[in-house]
């Protein structure tokens, strides 16, 4: 079944130079198992095609039910160099929540 990330996770994005970091935090342990399995660095890079012009790294924080993604060359140079409206990538976490994952498992909102 297809699950939009916004149904199972929240997050926050910020800037580190020209890179954006996006923290994706699952609402439950069951949701964390899903994002850990399906939200790969590759998928994130594909999702942000045209926005992320560099590599994507993924890190796991199971203690917080979270994944951290570093999206390189994403902020138009970063800081005061960037001409973008969202030069600090503050709306990119929300952009990630638009992603849908196709899961094999049976999943319901009441799972913990």
């Amino acid at each position: 079944m297809k699950i939009p990330l916004i149904d199972i996770a929240h997050g926050r994005s910020g800037d580190k130079g020209d890179a954006a970091n996006i923290g994706l935090i699952a609402y439950s342990d069951a949701s964390y198992r899903l994002i850990e399995k399906y939200v790969t660095a590759e998928k994130v890079k594909q999702h942000f095609e045209g926005i992320c012009l560099g590599e994507v790294e993924r890190y796991e924080l199971p203690n917080l039910r979270a994944l951290n993604f570093m999206l390189h060359n994403t902020l138009g140079g970063g800081g005061t160099v960037s001409l973008k409206l969202d030069a600090q990538g503050k709306t990119l976490a929300a952009a990630l929540l638009r992603m849908e994952i196709e899961v094999e498992e049976r999943y319901s909102k009441s799972s913990t």
């Binding site: 929240h10 997050g11 926050r12 910020g14 800037d15 580190k16 130079g17 020209d18 970091n21 923290g23 994706l24 935090i25 609402y27 999702h47 942000f48 095609e49 045209g50 926005i51 790294e57 890190y59 796991e60 924080l61 199971p62 203690n63 917080l64 039910r65 979270a66 951290n68 570093m70 138009g76 140079g77 970063g78 800081g79 005061t80 160099v81 001409l83 973008k84 409206l85 969202d86 503050k90 709306t91 976490a93 929300a94 952009a95 929540l97 638009r98």
Partner: protein, 455 residues
């Protein structure tokens, strides 16, 4: 030794809620108030101010704030720690002393932490053949040296702790790590040593949770933000810290906002790279070791934190003159809002080309349509777009080109597509771009200085 200390965040950045520090010192008991004023390129702005006037170069908000809260912090024995000293902590301290005098305060010690400003030392380092380069790109500093606006080392928490141990009521620093502002009181009160890496990491994590103000107590929260019923009087976060490295994140009762597992987790994920290696001058914290326990009632316990020794380097934040930029915008309403806005952008670009203006980059965006999420945005039917704002920005090393760009926005109102509005505030002026240049420098080359001045 105190059983616990209460550290309150008064500010997340220069430009944050002006009354936040006042509410922190009045709405409940706290021991320390910490305030961060320095974003990446703030130092270059302050350096420019100091170049024009040697009595400037610090966050001018600080003396104003102190006038308001000095009697309160003296009465309640609250200590204040801030990096708003910028490139002139001494001048900042003088203004604070003036305020104290005017208020009739008899006894005040201000600790100054400096040694971070290495702008004047760059040539010396070069002569000694010390290799300085951008830590991300590898670009040598020599390539931008003559355009350098500021160079400040991120000092750690121990100089601040030293100032506290020398009796400082207020500590004003130049560039220090934001996390160090919160860690320092713990080092001072609990006697943590330079090799207590797990404890230093715990204090660092507390600092990371506090350093963006209300962003950990319900602000900018993408979880269940709709459950927050009072943003207007949002409470800024507070850390109740214990000698064993555990702490509780909370906020004053009767304030708005929310402190929960999720609000704290979001802040922990903010602006981090590799979570196992959160590098600071004092330690390398492991964010994958952090345990959170939501105790309810806006209280979250944080514990289990581990860390590793610090590295041999300090991080240096430099900025150099990177040209000029300007931003203009115009809003177009239905019908054909997107088509009109796009056309206006193209007309403007054509005119600038015909004028022979030179830009490194021109960026046109449609705000209200796809400016934030670009190709991920769900495109509405053209007829459903009620209005859209054309936002166009340019950057160039040529001041005159950027200036002329600013003069070409308004004419579009009478010489371009129809039903246009949202032009106010005069011609956009060229702003100086301060390009960020982060470096690493051997710790042995830097000597933090701690001085106490008193009334």
């Amino acid at each position: 030794m105190k059983e616990k200390i209460i550290i309150a965040s008064g500010q997340g950045f220069w430009g944050d809620l002006i009354d936040a520090p006042y509410h922190q010192v009045t709405k409940g008991p706290i021991d320390y108030l910490v305030m961060d004023y320095l974003a990446e390129v703030t130092m270059s702005i302050l350096q420019k101010q100091k170049n024009k006037n040697p009595e400037l170069g610090y966050a001018k908000d600080i003396p104003f704030l102190m006038k308001r809260i000095l009697p309160i912090i003296k009465e309640k024995n609250i200590k204040v720690i801030t990096n708003g000293g910028g490139v002139n902590p001494e001048a900042c301290a003088r203004e604070v002393m003036k305020a104290a005098n005017e208020l009739g305060i008899k006894d005040l010690k201000i600790g100054l932490v400096t040694g971070d400003n290495i702008l004047a030392k760059i040539n010396e380092y070069e002569a000694a053949d010390i290799q300085l380069k951008d830590m991300e790109t590898g670009q040598p500093l020599s390539e931008v040296k003559d355009k350098l606006l500021s160079a400040n080392v991120y000092l750690g928490a121990f100089p601040i702790a030293e100032a506290l141990s020398k009796g400082a009521d207020i500590v004003i620093t130049g560039r220090t790590t934001d996390t160090g502002l919160t860690l320092a009181p713990m080092i001072h009160e609990f006697g943590w040593k330079k090799t207590d890496f797990d404890l230093l990491s715990a204090g660092t994590v507390a600092g990371h949770i506090l350093e963006c103000g209300a962003q950990s107590s319900g602000g900018n929260f993408l979880g269940n933000w709709k459950d927050i019923d009072d943003f207007a009087e949002i409470g800024f976060p507070i850390a109740e810290a214990y000698p064993n490295g555990e702490f509780i994140i909370t906020k004053h009762p009767n304030t708005g906002g929310m402190v929960s597992f999720d609000t704290v987790a979001e802040q922990l994920l903010y602006e981090i790279g590799d979570p196992k290696n959160y590098i600071t001058p004092d330690c390398v914290a492991d964010f994958t070791s952090i345990k959170l326990e939501d105790l309810g009632n806006d209280r979250v316990r944080v514990f289990g934190i581990k860390g590793m020794p610090d590295t041999p380097f300090y991080k240096v934040s430099c900025a150099y003159a990177g040209g000029y930029s300007a931003v203009g915008s115009l809003t177009y309403s239905w019908p054909d809002a997107v088509e009109k806005a796009e056309l206006a952008g193209n007309i403007l670009k054509k005119r600038m080309e015909l004028l022979g203006l030179k830009f490194d980059e021109i960026n046109a965006e449609l705000v209200g349509y796809n400016a934030c999420h670009k190709n991920l945005a769900k495109k509405p039917e053209p007829d459903d777009v009620n209005e859209v704002t054309l936002r166009i920005a340019v950057r160039s090393n040529d001041y005159k080109s950027v200036e002329r760009f600013g003069q070409e926005i308004a004419p579009l109102i009478l010489t371009g597509p129809p039903s246009v509005t949202g032009f106010a505030g005069g011609r956009p002026k060229p702003m100086e771009v301060a390009a960020y240049f982060p470096m690493l420098i051997d710790k042995n080359l830097i000597k933090p200085e701690v001085n106490i001045i008193e009334l």
